[in-house]
């Protein structure tokens, strides 16, 4: 019977000989001769090694002890053909193929599955030939692979649970989410209490309950992932183009103003939105301010001097609008020429039912404002709607 090493070397011999034939037929000139000579030499070398190896039985059994040949590890049959490497390999290759045309994450997952299968296969193949004792071989395999398998599988298991849970919570509405959370919590507490009150509980029962819970969680997560998540409104994002102008009407004198942009980091403004100095609302073409503690909508507000305050602007009308604050005119002298610049701050152009913050500071008292140009909040393009600002 040919040993494993002998088979490899015999394969090398046959392959080299066949290649030499193919090379000799298809090549010509000096390279053809050199190639044929080299390949024939390789085939001869393989053949020699095959002979020696077959005689020495892969050097696992001394020639002086031929009886041991039947008991050597090399002489033993493998533990048995397994289909899992093929299945895992198929999944890996399938993932790679699918990922090539769909998403990079699928491609990466395929590569990882393929590499994992390869490592598992290699270690298993090695461990099955370590000795003639199958039990010892199996224990050796566990010793090598379990430190890798256990944390990895644990992490994957936890990740699947968390992902499933997150899909469920994102699928449920804001009001249903806490109720579901409470129900699940109560169920866990109830089962835990039942188990705690029992003097002894069969292991199978606990495993069964946990398995049912896990399957339920993963199944529900998968179903709700397919169903998609509930609608979650995005915070308004500022674009540079949008920030280029505080005013839209082309004949306004404020065109040369230096514009400031706000809401650049809108996601960081969540807490500020909970306590603005006032909420400014555009509804049915009317601009009003709402202040905590003051009854009804206002058309005038007071803001402390040099105090950067946050105003929450809500547009309930269909037309897009931009809240703009006018904080007076600044005069700078360049080459003995006075240049007037309006202090303007504005929001992004806001669509219907959107909200954004306007962070604004009034450095001067409103007593410094010209009588015909009071400090105010207004909407460019919407005449007659403004909120006067008093700065004491």
């Amino acid at each position: 019977m040919l040993t494993t090493g002998s088979k490899l070397l015999l394969g090398g011999t046959v392959l080299s000989a066949l290649t030499a034939v193919v090379w000799g037929v298809t090549s010509s000139g000096a390279s053809g001769y050199v190639g044929v000579i080299g390949l024939v030499s390789l085939a001869l070398a393989f053949a020699l090694l095959f002979g020696v190896n077959a005689y020495a039985r892969d050097c696992n059994v001394p020639v002086s002890a031929p009886d041991a040949a039947t008991a050597s590890a090399a002489a033993k049959h493998p533990a048995g053909p397994g289909v899992w490497p093929a299945v895992a390999g198929l999944f890996g290759i399938g993932g790679i193929a699918l990922g090539t045309f769909t998403k990079p994450i699928v491609f990466k997952a395929g590569v990882i599955v393929l590499l994992a299968a390869l490592v598992e296969w290699l270690v298993q193949a090695w461990s099955e030939r370590v000795s003639a004792d199958a039990e010892y071989n199996a224990s050796l395999r566990k010793r090598v692979l379990h430190p890798l398998e256990m944390p990895l599988l644990g992490a994957i298991g936890i990740a699947v649970m968390i992902y499933s849970f997150s899909r469920i919570m994102l699928f449920l509405s804001k009001s249903a989410g806490p109720i579901a959370f409470i129900i699940v919590g109560v169920l866990i507490l109830a089962f835990a209490t039942m188990f705690a009150l029992q003097p002894t509980v069969k292991r199978g029962v606990i495993i069964g309950v946990c398995a049912i819970g896990a399957i339920g969680l993963v199944s529900a997560g998968a179903a709700m992932a397919i169903g998609g998540q509930r609608r979650i409104d995005r915070h308004p994002i500022t674009s540079d183009d949008d920030s280029a102008q505080c005013l839209r009407d082309e004949n306004d004198v404020l065109n040369n103003a230096e514009y400031e942009e706000i809401e650049r980091h809108s996601s960081e403004r969540v807490s500020a939105k909970s306590s603005p100095a006032a909420e400014v609302v555009l509804e049915n073409g009317k601009l009003t301010a709402h202040i905590v503690g003051v009854d009804g909508p206002q058309t005038a507000i007071t803001i402390a001097r040099s105090n950067p305050v946050n105003l929450l602007f809500t547009n309930r009308d269909a037309e897009k609008s931009r809240l703009t604050a006018f904080a007076g005119t600044e005069v700078t002298t360049v080459n003995d020429v006075d240049i007037k610049t309006d202090r303007l701050t504005c929001t992004t152009l806001l669509k219907q039912n959107a909200q954004t913050l306007l962070t604004v500071s009034f450095p001067k008292t409103s007593a410094s404002a010209a009588p015909d140009a009071p400090f105010k909040l207004f909407l460019p393009g919407l005449d007659g709607q403004e909120i006067l600002v008093t700065v004491p």
């Binding site: 905590v292 503690g293 507000i301 007071t302 402390a304 040099s306 105090n307 001067k364 008093t390 004491p392």
Partner: protein
């Protein structure tokens, strides 16, 4: 059973005669008692204006009504726990005896030890949540005041509104140091900050509220009767945090109306040829860059032009106290230094409620004016209150607080004379 040898009859006799253990116990009890008495006495003070245990308004009353039962319950629980622990330590101390029988699990005891704390916490929780909601209510507001903190003083402005007074406030008022409020009126403070986080706290009127830049936070405030209620910034806010004080002054409705009317009264310039008139010029030249006096004008090419301060160009906070009615206040510089002599201030603070308003509305009279404090401040403010206000400490070319202006003694006399008329 212990194998320790029993004391001989001779030893017993000696122990009974000298009784050293009894002496030790007595000494320990004496020491513990002395410490407890010391701790108790440390809580006593004749004059404790920032005492949380004597509320002077319904909001502080609510907190007081909550904290006293909670303290009582916590005290009883504490005594029981410490007593039980002490008893066990003493009773079962190591005397060489055998280790007692070890037991595990007493369901009824464990259930009781879970239920009792849960019931206590539930009881405390219900009243706490109810108090928190009551203190957060804003819908019953009768008067709104904006409170703005900065290093290291508080500014108060009263926006135009229908509330505060029967006729409302028709012209905005801005002041600092003293928050003047109408009594028996539900005030809502809008608290914020220009620079760092501060915390507004008048213990006799309500709990604390942080003043956070960019956030507008509300705090209810109501005083039962006229009087002066002191407070202190309670969030460390930098170098002079300890000198960032505050006071709420409660006036009955009529007195508050008088005060409000005076705050927006037409500016009266000093008489020509007086020291105060020269002081006005010095003030315009030296002080008005940062400090506003409403109604102050100067003649520019024959045209009377308002003098408007520009603290945003000189101060990091972009603001400085409005000095229009300085002498209607009892303190200055973050309510840290008195404008009144100690005798007058004591008389005002200890005045009966029915006389307090009239006394407060007098403001700082010439015989009550503590000139030395104000003079020292104008001479060299940073020497009195650390503020990183020197030339070297400027931030972007701006001061943090009032710098030393290097005024001459004559100029100081003039400015003091001018400010003394700001009532």
């Amino acid at each position: 059973m212990s194998e320790r040898s029993q004391p001989s009859s001779t030893e017993e006799t000696r122990s009974q005669v000298t009784n050293p253990r009894g002496h030790r116990i007595r000494r320990a009890v004496l020491a513990a008692g002395s410490l407890a008495a010391l701790a108790l006495l440390a809580g006593c003070a004749k004059d404790a204006p920032q005492d949380t245990w004597h509320p002077a308004g319904p909001n502080a009353e609510r907190i007081d009504n909550l904290q006293k039962p909670v303290f009582l319950i916590a005290g009883i629980v504490g005594v029981i726990v410490f007593g039980a622990v002490g008893y066990c330590i003493f009773k079962y101390r190591d005397r060489g005896q055998d280790i007692p029988e070890q037991t595990h699990g007493k369901p009824w005891l464990e259930i009781m030890l879970t239920i009792i704390p849960a019931v206590i916490l539930l009881f405390v929780g219900v009243f706490t949540v109810s108090t928190v909601f009551a203190l957060a209510k804003t819908s019953d507001t009768q008067c709104i005041i904006n409170v703005t903190g900065q290093q290291w003083w508080w500014e108060y402005d009263y926006p135009v509104q229908d509330g505060c007074l029967p006729g409302g406030i028709t012209t905005p008022i801005v002041t600092s140091g003293e928050l003047v409020i109408p009594t028996q009126t539900r005030i809502l403070l809008h608290v914020t900050s220009r620079d760092v986080i501060h915390s507004f706290w008048i213990p006799k009127l309500n709990g604390k509220r942080d003043a956070v830049p960019g956030r507008d936070q509300t705090l209810r405030m109501e005083a039962d009767g006229p009087g002066m209620y002191l407070g202190q910034c309670t969030e460390f806010c930098g170098l002079s945090h300890a000198r960032m004080r505050m006071a709420a002054v409660g006036l009955d409705t009529a007195d508050f109306a008088s005060w409000a009317e005076n705050q927006v009264a037409t500016y009266t310039p000093p008489d020509e040829g007086t020291l105060a008139a020269t002081g006005q010029s010095t003030f315009v030249a030296q002080c008005s860059r940062c400090h506003q006096v409403n109604g102050l004008t100067v003649d520019v090419n024959g045209v009377s032009t308002p003098v408007l301060s520009n603290p945003d160009q000189y101060e990091v906070s972009g603001a400085a106290p409005n000095l229009t009615n300085l002498m209607t206040r009892t303190t200055f510089a973050g309510a840290t230094f008195d404008l009144m002599t100690p005798q007058c201030l004591d008389k005002l603070q200890s005045a009966p409620p029915d006389q307090f308003g009239a006394l407060y509305l007098q403001g700082v009279t010439p015989d009550c004016f503590d000139e030395a404090n104000l003079r020292s401040w104008i001479r060299n403010a940073p020497a009195m209150k650390p503020m990183w206000a020197s030339e070297a400490d400027k931030v972007d070319g701006k001061y943090r607080g009032m710098p030393d202006l290097n005024l001459t003694e004559t100029q100081i006399d003039e400015v003091v004379a001018y400010l003394q008329l700001r009532k």
